[in-house]
Amino acid sequence: MTTDVVITGVGIVNAAFTGASEALGAYLTSPRPAAPSFAAGAPGIALADEALSRLVDATEARRMSRVSQLAVAAARLALADARIAGDTPLGLVIGTEFGDLRSTKAFADGYLQRGPAGLSALLFPNTVMNTMAAATSIAVRSREASVTVNAPLVAGELAVARAAAAVANGRLPVALAGGVDQLDGDIVRMIGRLGGAGETHGEGAAFVVLEPRAAAVARGVPILGRIAGWASRVLTARPYGVGRGTTSAAIATALRDADVAAPDVRWIYRSASGDAARDRWEDEVLGDDLVGRPSATLRRDIGRHSGLGALRVAAAAWTARSGLLPSDGGDVVRVPIGPGLVHGLARGGTHVALVVTS
C-alpha cells in the first residue's frame, strides 16, 4: 500500500434515508422496522419521486434520467460532507448493475412499437452504461477520469475498491466512489428467473469520498474511516449462478495488505441478500474463521442495489469508530473496536473484500 486512503465524505439517497455521514449515523442507531416496507405488488423498496425532487431541482431534473438524478444527488451530498469545492481535481468510479435500464427499455419500446417515428435522440445517450457517471461528472464538474464498473450485486463494493487503488497509487487525488441503480419491475422479474428468490430489491445511490490521509489532514476535514485493504477475485460460476468453489484469495489479500490477521477481524458487513443459495455460498467462502463474527447486511429496509455496497463501506467506517453494529434483527449491538471486513460475493462469482478501520 503506497498511500493511506481515508473516507472523508458520505452521500446516500435511498428509500430508508437520505443524507451524509451524520444522517448515516442517525439511521444506523435508530430502531428499524422488522420487515421491509413496500406497497403490495411493487417490485421492491422504491424511493418516492417527491423525495428525489427535493434533492435535484426541476430544471436540472428535466435534463437527466431518474437514475442519473439519484447519482447526482448522492454525489453532491458526499462532496459537501467532505467539504470538497467545485474546482477540486476529482475522479469518479461508479458501480452499477443495470445502468439506465429505464431509458434503455423506453428507447427499445419506442421503435418496437412505433418504428422509426419512435426513435428518441434524447434517450439513446442514456442507454450507454456510463451515463450516470457522465451526468455526475457534468454536475460536479469533475475533469479527471470517470469510470463505470459493471457487475451484478457487488458493483458498489468493486467501485470503492477500484477507487481506493487509484487514490493509493496516486492516479486520483480525490475519488468519488460508489454505486447506483434504479428499481424496475421487469428486471426484478427477469433476474428472478435466473435465481435469487428471497431477495428484496431496492434503489438508490451511495458514494464515499476517498483521499490520501495527508491531504485530508492538510484540509482539516474529519476522517470518517480508513480503507486499509481491498482485493477482488472471481470464483467460477455460470453467469448469475452460484458456484461450488470456496477458495478465493480476495479476503486473504485484503487482510494482508491491511496488515490484519483474520482472528483480528471484529465484525463483518456482508452481501447476504436473502437469496438462500448465494447466502450459503458466502458463508462457505467466509469460512469457519469468519462466518461466526458479528455481522450486518443493511439490506432489509433498503433493498439490494449497487449503492448498497458503498453504503456498507460507509457504515463500516461508522462501526469502526463507534463500536456499534446494526444487526439485521433491528437491534444495534456493541462490537469490539477494531478492523472490520466489507465482504461481497455475487452470483456469477465476483468476490470483493475491503478492510475498514477507524
Binding site: 445517450p125 452504461m129 457534468i138 479527471e144
Partner: protein
C-alpha cells in the same frame, strides 16, 4: 492539471482480434495495410427498415466460437481470446490472471430481444453486461480480478489502462485486457437517432465527411509487468490517462479540453515529450465535429510538429467498433512499429480547411513509428489517451 507521476511501462506481450477484416490479428493487419474495406450490407439481422443498413459486420466467426451457445458478444470475445492464446502462453497462477474488458453497450441486443418478448434464460444471461467477461475468465481459467468497465467508446483504452494498474499495483501477474461490442438493431437505431450515421463512405478527416458507420469487433492484449515479459513482445504501454469533458452527455467539448487533458497526462505518465511522438492513431469517427476537435487538440499538444507527424484513423476500414475501437487502434500502433508500415486512412481523399494534418492518404506508408499516441473519445465526455512503444519484429 494535477501532478502526474511517471510510471513503469507495462509489456504488451501479444494480441488477438476478430474484426470485420477477418477472424484474427493477421487478417486485421493485412487488411489495414492493403486497404481492405470491411464495410458491407449487414446480413445477421433485418435492416430493410433502417435508414442505414451497412456497417463493419463480421461475416464469419471461427468455427469453435461460432458453435458456442453464448450470446454473440461472448462469442466474439472468445474468438479474440482464441487468437490471442494461439500467440502467447498464459501459464501462470490462475488467481494472478486478471481480465479487464470494456464495452459501450454490452448485452443490449439480448435485452432488446427480451423486451420484444423472448425472455429465455439465454437472453437474460446474455443481457448481463458482465457475462462476456466472466465467460472469458471461465474459458481461460482465470481466477484473478474480473472487471467489466465502460467509458463508452473509449472503453477499450480504459480497459488497457486499468489492466496496467492491476499489474503495477501487484494485483495480478498477467492481465488480458481489451474491448468488444457488437452490431445490433438497437445500436444502429440509436446512432441513427442521433443522425451520426452516414449513407456515404466513411471519410475520416476528409472535407466531405458526413458521419460514421458502426462496426463490431473484439480485441484483447496480454499484459505483463515489463520485467516479467520473457521472449518476444509487441511493445510496451508507456502511459495512459483519462479525462472528462464535464460538458455534455452526447457531444464532445467544443474545445476538446478533456481530450487535451488526457493526452498531456498520458505523455507525462509515460515520461515522453510530445516531440517524441512518431504516429497518432486518432479516434477519427468521420463526424464533422469529432475530427475538427481532434485535429485542433493535436495541434495544441504537438505544436508545429503536428504537421510532420502521421495521423491515421482506421474506422474507414472497420466502422466504429465502439468498445473494441481503442484496443484495435492500440494494436495497430504496435504493429505499425513492428513491421515498419503505417496503414492509410481509408476514405480520406480531400483536404479540409480545419483538418489539415498529414492523415496518411491513399496507401500505407513505409515508416517505423517507435512511439505512438492513440486517442479516444466517448459519450458522456469520456476521453482517453494511450502512449505506446513498439518493438521491432525479430530479424
Amino acid at each position: 492539471m494535477v501532478p502526474v507521476i511517471a510510471r513503469a511501462p507495462v509489456a504488451i506481450v501479444a494480441a488477438g482480434a476478430v474484426t470485420p477484416l477477418g477472424p484474427d490479428l493477421d487478417s486485421f493487419w493485412t487488411g489495414l495495410l492493403t486497404g481492405v474495406e470491411g464495410i458491407s450490407t449487414i446480413e445477421r439481422f433485418p435492416v430493410s427498415d433502417l435508414r442505414v443498413g451497412r456497417g463493419g459486420e463480421i461475416k464469419k466467426l471461427p468455427a469453435r466460437s461460432a458453435r458456442m451457445p453464448e450470446c454473440r458478444a461472448s462469442q466474439l470475445l472468445i474468438a479474440a481470446a482464441e487468437d490471442l492464446r494461439a500467440r502467447a502462453t498464459l501459464g501462470s497462477d490462475a488467481a494472478r490472471v486478471a481480465i479487464v474488458v470494456g464495452t459501450a453497450l454490452g448485452g443490449v441486443e439480448e435485452l432488446e430481444h427480451a423486451e420484444a418478448g423472448d425472455e429465455s434464460l439465454r437472453r437474460i444471461e446474455g443481457a448481463l453486461y458482465d457475462s462476456p467477461a466472466h465467460r472469458l475468465a471461465a474459458w481461460l481459467g482465470a481466477e484473478g480480478p474480473v472487471l467489466t468497465v465502460s467509458t463508452a467508446c473509449a472503453s477499450g483504452a480504459t480497459a488497457l489502462g486499468l489492466g496496467a494498474e492491476l499489474l503495477r499495483d501487484d494485483r495480478a501477474d498477467l492481465v488480458i485486457a481489451g474491448g468488444y461490442d457488437i452490431l445490433c438493431r438497437f445500436v444502429m437505431r440509436g446512432f441513427d437517432a442521433l443522425r451520426s450515421l452516414t449513407r456515404e463512405r466513411v471519410r475520416p478527416f476528409d472535407r466531405r465527411r458526413s458521419g460514421l458507420l458502426l462496426g463490431e469487433a473484439a480485441a484483447l492484449v496480454l499484459l505483463s509487468r515489463d520485467q516479467d515479459a520473457r521472449g518476444e513482445r509487441l511493445g510496451r504501454l508507456l502511459g495512459h490517462a483519462s479525462g472528462s469533458d464535464g460538458s455534455h452527455i452526447a457531444a464532445p467539448d467544443p474545445e476538446g479540453r478533456g481530450l487535451e487533458y488526457a493526452i498531456r497526462a498520458a505523455l507525462a505518465e509515460a515520461d515522453v515529450d510530445a516531440a517524441a511522438i512518431d504516429l497518432v492513431s486518432a479516434h477519427g469517427t468521420a463526424t464533422p465535429l469529432n475530427d475538427r476537435i481532434e485535429t485542433a487538440v493535436l495541434k495544441r499538444v504537438l505544436g508545429p510538429r503536428a504537421y510532420d507527424v502521421p495521423v491515421n484513423g482506421i474506422k474507414g476500414a472497420l466502422g466504429h467498433t465502439m468498445g473494441a475501437a481503442a484496443t484495435l487502434e492500440a494494436i495497430m500502433c504496435l504493429l505499425a512499429g513492428r513491421h515498419g508500415a503505417v496503414p492509410a486512412t481509408l476514405g480520406y481523399e480531400e483536404r479540409d480547411a480545419d483538418c489539415d494534418l498529414d492523415y496518411v492518404p491513399a496507401t500505407a506508408r513505409n515508416v517505423r513509428p517507435r512511439v505512438s499516441l492513440s486517442t479516444s473519445l466517448g459519450f458522456g465526455g469520456c476521453n482517453a489517451a494511450l502512449v505506446l512503444e513498439s518493438d521491432e519484429a525479430p530479424a
